[in-house]
Amino acid sequence: MELFTPDFGLVFWMFVCFAVLFFLLWKFAWPAIMKGVDSRAELIDQGVLYAQQAKEQLDSAKLQAEKFEDEARARQAEILREADRMKSQIIEEARTEAAREAKKEMDAAKVAIEQARKEAQQSFRNEVSAFALDIAQKVVRTELADPAAQARLVDSILDQMEPGK
């Protein structure tokens, strides 16, 4: 049957056509197309990879920033606490210092007062003894006007001076 017997002429021309077509495409078309397709695929792959990396970096940067923020916040709190502590310490110190000063003043005042009091006591005593001597002189003078009374007094003093009595 004609359909199943290959024609020599057609086989010949088919070889020629294919050879020409293959040569032209192999020379001018396929390398450029394959290069283009491959390089585009590569570019897309790289782009995806790059985007992934960028996302990862962004995520890590965010994390880093958060960490920094937390640290800063902790530091801030620390500093505030420290300042607070220092404040109270300074106040405390000032208070003790003031108390000490006051106590010193008070002590000094007390000593002065004591001194004054003692001096006053001393002078009062002196005055009192002077008064007493005066009074006693006056009393004795009046009392010893009578000789009998003088004798009695001498007796009583002698009695007192006698150690055996």
Binding site: E2, L3, F4, T5, P6, D7, F8, G9, L10, V11, F12, W13, M14, F15, C17, F18, V20, L21, F22, L24, L25, W26, F28, A29, W30, P31, A32, I33, M34, K35, G36, V37, S39, R40, A41, L43
Partner: protein, 359 residues
């Protein structure tokens, strides 16, 4: 959608009304079918059954000198005398439809025939179309680098990319760049040939991939590429495969099977493409001819058959567009697989690849 339906019905009614019972006296469906499936020295002109576009006939006569003349001289089985040599296309006999030299004693001599027949002309046109389709893609890539093309160039590129990245690269791996030009050329060539065959008038209409000479050449090319570039491992697998000794040593059972397999591969490629494409063409022609065969049964039958045949023909043609792509793709895919099997480098480095291929 509503309009489309109305237009279709109107069109079909018009077609059935136009189909006047007019049957040629010497109507021979078989003749017409084989004329359309086969080759010819001229190219049919649409709506004209008496004239053909003349094409050059190139033949070598018995004495060894070449003759080139227009096929118009041979139309309607005329006898043509080119100098002292007479040429003729017999209407029947062994050389039916082929140009023959009539010798002095009246016997026929079949010359070496390199005529630009309808199929050869269609081949030339196909080559030009393939170039016109592929070159813009290459130009785009040279000019714009990795940018994605748009419109037609983009469509062709995605087709090429589909075959290249989808089949050739995964199957051939590191050898992809070496064999891709051949495989891509095969794919584009077959695909365009298939599609051109579906067009019913001039630039198309030649049943190229439904011609066994064409598919045989394509399969032979794959055969040559497979075997000429085959590696040591491929030949070892054929002549000393990894099977029990009794299968290969005293009686070479495996060797016979393997060598047989080397030749059945191109044969299967040839017949698959040929039968699929020829079958598609034949069904469309037969569906069209049914209209004329049933013309005897009156206008009603004729009208009804026309509508039904037309619908079926359109369906078959649309299906053939799909088949055109599938067959081109299958041919390329099998060629890739055969070449990849011949490119294996033995068990050490590519064992995993070979097992996946075997599956």
């Amino acid at each position: 959608m509503k309009h489309l339906k109305a237009i279709t019905i109107l069109f079909l009614l018009l077609v059935s009304a136009l189909a006047v019972p007019a049957k040629a006296a010497d109507f021979d469906p078989k003749e017409i079918i084989f004329e359309h499936l086969g080759d010819g020295y001229g190219w049919e002109v649409p709506f004209d059954h008496h004239h053909r576009m003349p094409l050059p006939v190139i033949v070598c006569d018995q004495s060894g000198s070449w003759h080139c003349f227009s096929s118009a001289h041979l139309d309607h089985h005329a006898v043509y005398a080119d100098g002292d040599v007479t040429w003729h296309v017999p209407a029947e006999g062994d050389n039916k439809g082929k140009v023959v030299q009539i010798l002095a004693d009246g016997s026929e001599y079949r010359p070496i025939d390199l005529s630009i027949t309808k199929n050869v002309m269609a081949l030339f046109i196909t080559v030009l179309v393939v170039l016109a389709v592929c070159m813009p893609v290459a130009r785009w890539h040279k000019r714009h680098g990795f940018k994605a093309p748009r419109r037609f160039v983009g469509a062709v590129e995605s087709l090429i990319d589909f075959v290249y990245t989808g089949v050739i690269k995964p199957t051939l791996g590191q050898d992809a760049r070496r064999f891709a030009p051949f495989l891509l050329t095969i794919f584009m060539f077959i695909f365009i040939m298939n599609l051109m065959g579906l067009m019913v008038i001039f630039p198309g209409g030649a049943n190229l991939t439904g011609n066994i000479a064409v598919t045989m050449v394509l399969a032979l090319l794959t055969f040559f590429v497979t075997n000429l570039f085959g590696r040591k491992h491929y030949w070892k697998e054929i002549f000393w495969p990894d099977v029990p000794m009794w299968l290969k040593c005293p009686i070479p059972i495996m060797q016979v099977i393997e060598v047989f397999g080397v030749f059945t591969k191109p044969a299967s490629l040839t017949v698959r493409l040929f039968a699929n494409m020829m079958g598609g063409h034949m069904i469309v022609i037969v569906l069209t001819l049914i209209i004329f065969i049933l013309a005897d049964f009156g206008a009603a039958a004729l009208g009804a058959t026309t509508v039904v045949s037309l619908l079926f023909s359109i369906f078959m043609l649309v299906l053939d567009v799909l088949v055109s792509f599938i067959q081109a793709f299958v041919f390329t895919m099998l060629s890739t697989t055969f070449i990849a099997m011949a490119q294996e480098r033995g068990h050490d480095d590519h064992h995993s690849e070979s097992t996946t291929l075997a599956k």
